[in-house]
Symmetry: D2
């Protein structure tokens, strides 16, 4: 997982390691120019002076009532104590992740300054790793935990430094580069963005205790996710130390949680995290076809409420007729089921039927299919948000049936909260030309294909728009070059290395 670098001469073995840098509770401080310096040397880690690995939660390092002891792979001595989180202790980590919304800590429409901050953190951390004493510390620490030669361990440190250099300055925001294509008429443009997943979990193995966790952790952070990191306990001391270096380089301590636990506990955490972060996509993915345009709900600003909008909607609905199939049979929901759903909704305080609500008459549609008039039901926003009503109001009815509600300026956060709580996040339209409003709503939502602007509508996806939910990369993106490439093929990397060999090449020492 790294390339050998010509490194002068080999160090001989672990007992010669001599410097330790990063402050933990168990390492006492010593005077040093770097603020995170400690004075427990790597070679002093032993049965007599075991090192400790802590957990990091919402910006706070902390121990545990349960400590897991590791034995030295070279001599069997217990030499590291890991603060273990058990099944009961996992809840605060779940809560911490739940506080991160699905649209992440940042995205192209939210807190873009975080892209820059992470570019700064990368530049500073890369510089620290380039200092000989820091590089030597991590090299020896890796050797101590996952025994390998000095050059092999140094390779990890070097690759990690170069990776951090790669994403210095503006390069983090360049990762969020989007693209746009002219639309069908003046005023229309389609944009493809890279969107975070929100809360995510990273589980990494023992064999590359620095490189794999840092590269994946920073990648997750760069794109706007909030990660919880679990490293194989045998080597998690390395990341305990590295997280402190990242904090010293400016990474906010709340950005990453760090947990030590067994597989069962981690699985418990994952299940909960998954619930929070993935359910929407899985949901949408699992039956994508059946809920193409999904949630039929209209959030209407009160200004629209005062306009003739609702009246006109009613008139237009009334023009539809079975004769020319502008209204027709519903293939997956019966008439009875839809009328029952209507009745339940009308029991919510303040709700009312705006139009429709009746079965079609004088037709031969068989009873296994549905046949009702275009129907709209008003439900007050406060009622929608109540736990008892939310599932009912947002239930998928794949037919001519919609919910309408209304909000005032200061109720926008309630609308955004309702969006966040829904399970399916496919098509949406934000019908406004107010750039600040659009920015706020887009930046705090995760719907897939999203139409924005006064002419926005949810049923307009021709072949030049990516049509599909945000989330799962193989979800259901359809039709565009981007969609075809991402859905129907995978990346394969081929590295050619054909020579010629340098003129005086000789077999190097073993590593």
């Amino acid at each position: 997982m790294y390339r050998l670098k010509g490194l002068g001469e080999l160090r001989r073995k672990a007992p010669q390691m001599t410097v330790s840098w990063f402050n933990t509770f168990s390492f006492s401080r010593r005077a040093h120019s770097l603020p995170f310096a400690t004075n427990l040397a790597v070679e002093d880690i032993s049965g007599a002076q075991p090192a400790e690995v802590q957990n990091l939660l919402q910006g706070k390092w902390m121990g545990s009532s349960t400590w897991n002891t590791l034995v030295d792979p070279l001599n069997g001595e217990p030499f590291i104590k890991v603060a273990e989180v058990d099944g009961r202790g996992v809840q605060p980590f779940v809560e911490s992740l739940r506080q991160c919304p699905k649209h992440g800590l940042h995205n192209p429409f939210k807190s873009p300054e975080r892209y820059l901050m992470l570019g700064d953190v990368s530049a500073k951390a890369a510089h620290l790793l380039s200092l000989p004493e820091v590089s030597d510390f991590f090299t020896k620490l890796i050797q101590r935990l996952a025994p390998k030669s000095y050059q092999q361990a140094f390779g990890e440190v070097y690759v990690t430094q170069k990776f951090l250099e790669n994403f210095s300055g503006d390069q983090v925001r360049f990762l969020a580069r989007s693209f746009a294509v002219p639309g069908n008429h003046l005023g229309q443009q389609s944009h493809g963005f890279r969107w975070p997943y929100g809360p995510v979990a990273i589980i990494t193995p023992f064999n590359f205790p620095l490189e794999i966790p840092v590269l994946q952790l920073m990648g997750a952070l760069y794109m706007g996710n909030k990660p919880v990191l679990k490293v194989d306990s045998k080597v998690s001391l390395v990341m305990d130390q590295m997280l402190r270096l990242l904090h010293a380089s400016g990474l906010p301590t709340e950005d990453v949680d760090f947990i030590n636990c067994d597989g069962k506990t981690m699985n418990k955490l994952l299940v909960e995290v998954e619930y929070v972060s993935w359910v929407c996509d899985q949901d949408a993915y699992a039956c994508s076809g059946q809920k193409c345009s999904a949630q039929s709900i209209l959030f209407m600003h009160e200004n629209w409420g005062r306009s003739p909008l609702l009246g006109k909607m009613k008139d237009l609905a009334a023009r539809r007729k079975l004769d020319d199939l502008t209204i027709g049979p519903v293939l997956t929901v019966t008439t009875e089921a839809m009328l029952e759903h209507k009745n339940k909704l009308l029991q919510i305080p303040g709700s009312k039927l705006l139009f429709g609500g009746d079965a079609l008459q004088n037709h031969s549609i068989p009873a296994i299919y549905g046949a009702i008039k275009p129907t709209a039901i008003f439900v007050p926003l406060e009622e929608i948000l109540k736990n008892d009503n939310f599932e009912l109001v947002t239930k998928e009815i794949f037919g001519p049936f919609q919910i309408i509600t209304e909000y005032k300026d200061n109720q926008l956060p309630m609308v955004l909260n309702a969006l966040e709580r829904m399970h399916a996040h496919l098509t949406a339209a934000v019908v406004s030309n107010d750039m600040l409003f659009l920015q706020e709503v887009i930046g705090q939502s995760v719907n897939g294909t999203t139409y924005a602007g006064l002419r926005a509508r949810t049923t307009g996806a021709p072949q030049n728009h990516w049509f599909g939910p945000a989330g799962d990369p193989r979800g259901a993106g359809i039709g565009t070059p981007e969609a075809i490439k991402l859905v129907w093929s995978c990346h394969r990397e081929i590295i050619y290395d054909i020579g010629p060999l340098p003129k005086q090449w000789e077999i190097p020492v073993s590593t």
Copy 2:
């Protein structure tokens, strides 16, 4: 899922539909300039003259002993008979998919002329769909099965035509555009390719019976996959007809299988397909960290066998010592387990120990870890491929342990077959500067990070190479800008549509 087009006047209802185009077993032919023309008009489909939907397997249309009858959603009459495949009948479809290798029907190193052929098929099919009589036929057929207005149904046909135009000419191969970045030294370059998955399945819903299946089907084909297509039976007659149009446009009849079955049968098919196509990736993904560089096996051309290569390998292995950790403890496999594995391998006829094979001596490594000398065991290629031996020889040992075998020129297909049968496909190196040999091996394999050329090696992944398996898009790609973007973020599409409205815009008729 489409945009309305101003379409002159509205047609009134189903009974006025009058033309039918594409030949099925149940439709009789009529004289017409197009070879696939038939003379059963859409309006004649009825209880008296039910239409039939067939299955397509390995290039042959076929009926079934079991027919599923659909009722007309407008009047309840049985009007379509679908040839259903049941659980027992699914096996030939599984076999058909299994014949497609994991590296697909084509990829950038295999049968590139297929990209062009699919560009031609798209251009021709787009032109056919642009003919008024063909467009009208499909529009009415959609209306007949999934009742919606003429304009709504026409929208699907129009979008499908435009999509096919988009991938005319060279545009299919442009989807396979790769990129390359200079390496660390002369002769090294890393390339990122888009690779197919091989056999895939597409399941589509009833609501867009033409657009969704065609866009996903063609996308899958373009990238080199072999799809089996299952459309919701209620509307599968549309794709039965469209597949015939695609064949008439030049699509080889073996490229797509088409199946009508219930969910349970499809699930059975999927499970088998999954086994064939996905197990490697899931496997690699599930414990990615534990098998970073996975399969330790060396396929050596006999010319190398005659060279001093093996002797030199033995000498180099002998230089390694615990003292400087150039050999060290194995953290996940015990000494005992590795020696037992060695003994089993040595029972294979023709196999022999090349070097190593003993436990390390004079050390304090605890027994829960492993400690053996670098070990290589030769196994004849013919033996590796035997069903009884294959699992054993390719068992993952995450330690200093490798299998070596040898092949002659004419045995390259056996080597490729062994690669295809393995379950994990992570790093590989193809050590040759012969461009034709590289092309053949790369084009017929699916390993993730693959090094090619005389200086190729499997352990050299710095931060500028994508490191991870091919396959699952969220697999474990690590470190590069491409990897960060594909692994840690998803696509989100925002379409701005801000106006202004055209000057004389009026409310159009309902659709």
Copy 3:
């Protein structure tokens, strides 16, 4: 310039050519299913029946008083008459080009439906060229004018057809794909667009009379330019016919002008065209550094005029002092020159000094440098646009000196006209959050780095923005990855073609 295609058997020679398709004034019509069909066969073109090549100007085909006669390269007979435009006749072509604004016929903010129209034209023209009789006609016509074998001539037609297929459907608009990167703070994003040059000229040689002109002509059209096309007279009959085919495929006849003339006349046209289309970029390029942020002029909507804006600007200007260098020496313009410029401006009717206008006092700045207070002069918009004043008002003063003017809603076209007439088009800011206003101004201007939105400013180009004029690709784009690549490197194409040869390959016939 093309690849051989296996074409069955060779045609023998020109006299066997038998069909001619596209209508010119000199070809009489015959009854045929295609509207542009004629009945003069290619083989009939001869001294007795010479063909004629016409000019196309603003949608009208026309002859000339001067005809240039070409001799048949196979026998020396005069066989084609070309309507030549001479030096006097060139002016209407110049005028036609001048009517196309610098921002082109379309761009991502103007008439995006033209991208689709051109995708349609391409699909239709590709289909026509795929018809055997049309393909054969053009193949023989090319042979007749630029003698080469049937296969070689057919190669041109085939490549042209495939090119047109490539840009069918949405692929023209995909060429206009832009990208965007998050900015420094919420609300800021930088976008990179592909912008047309406006009026352009294409001059093509004799050796590929169809392929080179069509590929370059369509490329120019796709991006939004208005081309005048001149083909080597020896072969210009081919494009005379091909333009008629493009018109029949839906290309508006005004989109391309077609001229036959000698080099001297073309040069005259070019000089004038260059003046219209290139002067801004050349100007900016020639002394880029000296006019980094160039034109200091503020167009203020009357609503701003009524606000306290001007008063606040005056107060802020008054805070500046030499002491902390918030005002300082002007290195390239003397105090005297600036005061003289002020005086000239104040002679324009309606103009007035808003603030500043005096030399700095009590300083030791040497007389070779300039030293004045921050200065703003109001000039009425109507006066700015007068020919006598325009040069004066838009004169570059690289110092603390600006022009301010005001416009009403209905005067926006006057503002856009002023922008179009300026010679340098570097930085600009459009200070509004009104999306429709931004769309109108951006779509009808050609400034390079353009800031848009309420926080827009012209002096804010950090390293993550492309900073430079639009226009010349090597202009002065600075600092971004895009700029470095486009300014400091060129495209080089390497095509690998390594084999293997098809198994039964044999030497084909000569072509």
Copy 4:
């Protein structure tokens, strides 16, 4: 050209500047941890202690016999002496540039380790600029020369630092990312690379004395060019110092030349540089159509010479006949001119006619056109390279006429030298499957469309290959999406900055 940063408090004026960092001949050294430290403080630069600006040529800093003295813009005192190069002194700079080949100091096939080296230089220089004492030094130096406020001057330093961070690590090589597209048949792939221009010149203005030169200089270096830099003398002291910082960061001193001279001298240099670097492109561009496939010369390895190749070429040429136009009239060169050219070539010692060389017989081609048999003339490689013969042998004959020569393994440098000396560099084919040979030839040449591999040929450019010379970005790239975008449109940057303003925003101090 930069953004204001919140900078704590304002420094008051120039006399308070106190530190100077970078060694020049005129600044004496002082003890300091950084090797390039000096002890002349910025505030000490004055009439009494003038600073000196030197020239840098081929790695050596040097003064001049002529010194140009600048006056302090704040008080008129002479305070800086610039070593001026005059017309006679310019020749060594021309020679220095000429030593850089047209294919640059590096490209994707030559010295790729230089991309990494430049990434390292950028990381180190960025870190140095981030140190408060270094940043303060450059800020004050800028203020001293181009009087502006501390914040404005600091802005330049900050942007420059961030730019250098952006191209740290692997990001320089990522700029050289290429792309590839599958070809028409197995073994064919087309690749698009970014290629340097070789020797280039950068001329920068006074207003941003650090930012503009560093961004353009590094951009030019990153892509593989060798720049000579000329900064407006009024401020060139800033880049004198900055170049020393770059050297201290690892930039090889020979990579950039730095010259101080007047416009006339620079123009002289430019004319010569242009001659070296641009003539090929301009040449190709000027009459692109007339020399599509240009130079007809075959360099044949002696192994091919011993094969039946030449005999087979002769046989194939003999099959061509006027009858089917497989040989035909030459439209731009007469028979007489071609025969005369043949005769001149045959006077070169060792040259001989291989086949052809006669006029066609029994035809009616008019005398204004050419008519000869396919002709090949052998000329020894040593003779081709002689100054007296080179122009003659490489003269463009746009007809069926080619030169053939032969080389041995050790003569490849002579072949590459001949390629470098030619003026037109359009199509070429390198007919070999030896990857190391291909790498060497491609990496040391600048031909545009280049075919590589055993099936390579120069006449095969369909619509999916970029066809055109390398060099001028608007040259004649034809037909591909890349070509259309780069040739027919320009980059335009729009930066949206819409707000909202931060909640407690106040008007900042003037800058």
